[in-house]
């Protein structure tokens, strides 16, 4: 085993050399027209967008800030531009079933034309019909029919009257009908006169009244038939006049749409309805309340009477008249009604009414035959939106209905617009977790969204990607009017990007963060009056950002320095070690030391993790602790049982602990307690450990090192202080400048280790020791002390058990 050696300063930070760039400022770079470092996702989006089969909708997953939205929108816009424009969609009246408006599909631009043509037609009809009905000819014909009817009625009435009078009976109208009275000398017989009549005469009059009444009743019963005949004649006349007035107009219009049979069919139906309802155009408008209304009691006119366009106009739902390609719709607020459309209502005479003119389109209508881009989280959190979207994709039709209707919550009569066939590509953009949850929990999801475009959160720190990032920064600077970035500033942004990625060999794909830093650096450059953003501006921006977000970290460090949180950075203690933890508060991630202690006594070989016992430790943490037992049982003494009970605790920890990155520190503390060997408090430790004593990589290594460095730095660097990290984490190091400088000055150290033995040697200052030919650890080594103690504990336990058992037997 080789002893661990501190890392050289150059291993702690992997700078980006501005000299590697072939530009002075980003002004010299072309605009970036492709996304950086997302080849896999780009390929997936390209595949999904091109697949013409149903179900190949896309779910674009990945962390925010990677440019998913921009890329998808720009890419789809390019794709859409090469496709034909989508058709127009209209809703028109269904004259046979008005509550089921009819959908019409027309080539792009023809919907707008149809709307204008029909509006123009109705305008002409509004003139043509009243004009036709104002002609003398029409009035004469109508009067002729009415006169014929009246004359017939008069003739019948006069005949009945004459017949009755001849038989001494007068016909008299009453408030509710007609009655028959016997007369004498031209006057109705009074009751007194009637009483004086003979019985025969009374009986005769009674019979006459009965007879005439029966005859009259028969005549009256014939009146409705005659009225019906008159009405039919008048209706036929009106129909003929209307046909003459509008038939030619509609025929001409239908001729111009003969390539669209559905439109022609609709126009024919409209013609039929116009003929049947020509009265709508004959009612005069805007007449003030007048005497006749007062006397005759004219009722309120319907909306259709007020405006025939409501009945005959075209509701242009989607117009693509000005589109040169397929639509790309990005719906930022995908509520149910914004997706599938809605049916609005208007207040009319105290009630809410609606018709096909009040049908409004949703994003699905606008995106039909193109692409619809939605934020997955918003779709899932808007009530009923996800179900509606799936239903539309599954059925291939957009069905507009209110939520109340869809879920049978209300039963009032409303519209049932004809469903519109839909053919589009839906692109959901969301976090990975949403994708995996949908995959796991929604069986329909994988059927409808067969393509996943997984945006990576990191990308290789290659020369090409560094140049692309520089291009991106230059593009944003030009687009947003920022100062150009000097190559040194770009280099600094790249270094920060690698640091944010937590890997010296990778860059963060969260490009938004790099862009934000450039924006903030621009502000500082402007304050300095510089026309170019320099590296120092970027550094100021980074520091300022850190300062803004570091309140919690500073408070924690403050309490450590004040001795409230107990952290030793000097001396040596038995069973006590400085572990390192990472905390995340909002966007800010920082590391800090935390004291881990181990105490033990004779027992049954159980390591008690207090964090787990009180349910503050997560499963990964518990796993790490359990691994320790495995290592102890197999590494030192194999012919005796572990005979101690140990307790491990994160001191002054008041919240949950998760992850196994402290397992090596816990092991060091336990070994220290076992060996009764004080370990250096000037060192802090991070790294997980396996059952063979190998130290494994952990996350957040930079923040952890810096967290301990800040405490030591504040207390004064002694040259003894440092951090033990897993060897596998060396490639991730992108430490702050002041840490690197301290290491270069020999005031701070970063030790990479591969095994627990290497770590124990650093912590204890004693050789760990390797087994000799007899399998024994040499005396004076850490491992020998541990082995000896384990044997001692086992013997003690055995003796205790023996004594205790004998007492019990006695």
């Amino acid at each position: 085993m080789t002893a661990a050696k501190p890392l050289a300063p150059e291993s702690l930070f992997h700078p980006c050399d501005p000299a590697d760039f072939e530009f002075e400022t980003t002004d010299e770079l072309d605009d970036l027209v492709r996304i950086v470092g997302q080849d896999r996702a780009v390929e997936a989006v390209r595949f999904g967008a091109a697949m013409p089969v149903d179900g190949y909708n896309l779910f674009v997953l990945g962390p925010p800030g990677t440019g998913r939205h921009h890329f998808v929108s720009d890419f789809l816009a390019q794709q859409a531009a090469e496709r034909p424009a989508a058709p127009d969609w209209c809703y028109v009246n269904n004259f046979a079933e008005p509550h089921k408006p009819r959908a019409l599909e027309l080539p792009a631009g023809r919907g707008t034309k149809l709307r204008e043509d029909v509006a123009s037609l109705i305008g002409e009809v509004q003139t043509a019909i009243p004009s036709a009905f104002e002609t003398e000819d029409y009035h004469h014909r109508r009067q002729s029919y009415e006169r014929g009817f009246q004359e017939e009625q008069e003739r019948i009435f006069q005949e009945a009257q004459r017949h009755a009078e001849e038989r001494g009976i007068r016909i008299i109208q009453t408030p509710t009908g007609v009655t028959f009275a016997p007369i004498r000398s031209g006057e109705v017989v009074t009751p007194e006169e009637f009483e004086k009549l003979s019985d025969d005469e009374k009986k005769r009059l009674e019979q006459e009244v009965e007879k005439i009444g029966a005859e009259f009743q028969a005549l009256m019963q014939g009146t409705p038939k005659r009225v019906r005949r008159l009405r039919e004649q008048l209706r036929e006349l009106d129909r003929d006049v209307t046909v003459f007035a509008v038939g030619g107009l509609i025929d001409d219009l239908a001729e111009s749409y003969k390539d669209l049979p559905e439109v022609v069919e609709y126009l024919k139906e409209m013609q039929g309805d116009l003929i049947e309802n020509g009265d709508l155009f004959r009612a005069s408008r805007d007449r003030p309340e007048n005497l006749t209304q007062l006397i005759m009691g004219a009722g309120a006119r319907s909306q259709e009477q007020s405006d025939p366009m409501r009945r005959y106009g075209v509701n242009l739902l989607v117009s693509n008249a000005d589109s040169s390609g397929a639509p790309v719709v990005v719906e930022d607020h995908p509520a149910y009604v914004h997706l599938i459309g809605r049916i609005e209502h208007q207040a009319h005479l105290g009630t809410l009414v609606t018709d096909f003119q009040l049908i409004k389109p949703g994003a699905l209508h606008r995106a039909n035959h193109g692409y619809l881009v939605l934020d997955a989280r918003k779709v899932l959190t808007e009530p009923f939106a996800w179900s509606a979207l799936k239903e539309t994709l599954r059925s291939g039709h957009i069905r507009i209905e209110s939520i109340g209707q869809a879920y049978s919550l209300v039963s009032t009569v409303s519209l049932e617009p004809e469903p519109i066939p839909v053919q589009l590509k839906v692109v959901l953009i969301g976090e990975r977790m949403l994708y995996y949850l949908l995959e796991a929990l929604d069986p329909e999801f994988s059927e409808l969204f067969k393509v996943s475009a997984d945006f990576d959160d990191r990308m290789p720190r290659s020369a090409e990607n560094q140049t692309l990032l520089a291009q991106l920064l230059g593009t944003v600077a030009r687009r947003e009017g920022l100062n150009p970035l000097h190559c040194s500033a770009v280099a600094r942004v790249i270094e920060e990007s690698a640091r944010y990625a937590g890997d010296a060999e990778r860059l963060s794909a969260e490009l938004r963060r790099a862009i934000d830093i450039a924006r903030e650096a621009h502000s500082f450059a402007c304050q300095r009056g510089e026309a170019v953003i320099m590296a120092e501006d970027v550094q100021v921006a980074i520091d300022a950002r850190d300062r803004r977000q570091s309140r919690v970290r500073d408070r924690m460090q403050e309490e450590i320095l004040r001795g409230t949180l107990l952290i030793d950075t000097e001396g040596a203690k038995e069973g006590q070690i400085n572990g390192l933890a990472v905390s995340r508060v909002g966007q800010h991630t920082f590391g800090h030391p935390t004291r881990i202690t181990a105490r033990l006594t004779v027992g049954s070989g159980k390591v008690i993790d207090i964090e787990r016992e009180v349910e503050l430790g997560g499963p990964l943490h518990s796993k790490g602790v359990l691994i320790l037992s495995g290592f102890l049982a197999s590494h030192y003494v194999t012919d005796r049982p572990l005979s101690f009970s140990a307790t491990l605790v994160f001191e002054q920890s008041y919240s949950g602990v998760e992850g196994d990155s402290a397992s090596s520190a816990e092991l060091y503390a336990l070994l220290s307690a076992l060996a009764r060997l004080p370990i250096k408090q000037s060192l802090a430790v991070t790294g997980s450990v396996n059952q063979y004593g190998e130290v494994q990589a952990i996350g957040g290594v930079n923040e952890k090192i810096e967290g301990f460095f800040d405490i030591c730095h504040a207390r004064g660097l002694t040259g003894e202080q440092g951090v033990i990290i897993p060897m596998a984490n060396v490639k991730h190091l992108m430490l702050r400048r002041n840490v690197v400088d301290a290491v270069a000055d020999g005031k701070f150290h970063v030790y990479p280790v591969q095994t627990i033995d290497q770590g124990m040697e650093l912590l204890s200052g004693m050789t760990a020791g390797e087994r000799d030919l007899h399998g024994e650890f040499p005396e004076g080594t850490v491992n020998h002390r541990i082995t000896r103690r384990l044997i001692e504990l086992a013997d003690n336990r055995r003796a205790f058990a023996s004594d205790h058992g004998a007492e019990e037997r006695q």
Partner: protein, 263 residues
């Protein structure tokens, strides 16, 4: 009612009511007319003597207008109904008169309707006669059609015979037509020794300069005036009292058209 008060003045406006129920809109219109012409409003409720006699007869039967069903008329039934309707009419007239701010009176008269109407028309400057509400023989349009006709081009019709009452009737008819934006139909009814041509000239002279669309028609003989009007159903009929009161009475039996009798 939109007749300018400075052009038409009257001492008394009478509204003639019969047992066909109370038409609140007609009463309201009458009250406004009285207000605009600074006249007193008088309500006269006609009790048809023939009906009252008939009601007492044991042989009386009635055929319902709307169902054609035949039934016996019970003694006293019609009397009770007329009394109740008269009371309701008086109450309604008082209410609209108070709203219009006109003085008013109400009385119930009994007799032959024709004679009662002549008497009422003789003592009032303007007599408004309600529509019969349910003409027995006429062609009755549906309510919707009637409403449409009421708003549409149905003219104000006036009978003109060159008498002084006819000239006043023509003046009122012109103003009604103008106020309601309706055409005017002038029905010429030449008397003894007059030709239709001279009447037409007089009517056209009277209408010269008036902003109203009008037609002048030759009426048939008086006996056929009713049939003529049935065929040209107007929104309102304006007639001079003499010699057309009889015709109005008959018309009231046949048509759903209110009439203005002008003395």
């Amino acid at each position: 009612m939109s007749v300018p008060s400075q052009t038409v003045r009257a001492r008394r406006v009478t509204v003639a009511l019969r047992g066909y129920g109370v038409d609140a809109r007609l009463l309201d219109a009458a009250a406004r007319l009285a207000r605009d012409t600074t006249a007193e409003l008088t309500g006269v409720f006609f009790e048809d003597i023939d009906l009252l006699r008939l009601a007492e007869l044991p042989v009386a039967i009635e055929i319902c207008r709307t169902t054609s069903v035949r039934r016996r008329v019970e003694a006293g039934e019609i009397t009770r109904e007329l009394t109740a309707q008269a009371a309701a009419a008086e109450q309604a007239l008082g209410r609209v008169a108070a709203q219009a701010g006109v003085t008013w009176s109400f009385r119930v008269v009994r007799g032959a309707v024709r004679a009662l109407l002549e008497a009422a028309a003789a003592e009032a400057d303007i007599t408004i006669v309600a529509a019969a509400h349910g003409a027995l023989w006429g062609y009755r349009e549906s309510a919707a059609q009637a409403d449409r006709r009421a708003q549409d081009e149905a003219p104000v019709a006036v009978v003109f015979d060159a008498s002084e009452p006819a000239k006043r009737a023509l003046g009122i008819a012109v103003r009604l037509a103008v106020a309601e934006q309706r055409p005017l139909t002038v029905i010429l009814s030449p008397g003894e020794g007059e030709t239709g041509e001279s009447l037409r000239e007089q009517a056209q002279r009277a209408l010269a300069g008036q902003s109203v669309r009008y037609h002048v028609l030759d009426a048939p003989q008086n006996s056929h005036l009713m049939a003529f009007l049935c065929a040209h159903v107007p929104s309102m009929l304006v007639v001079p009292v003499s010699p057309f009161a009889d015709a109005v009475h008959d018309l009231q039996q046949r048509l759903d058209v209110p009439a203005l009798l002008v003395r």
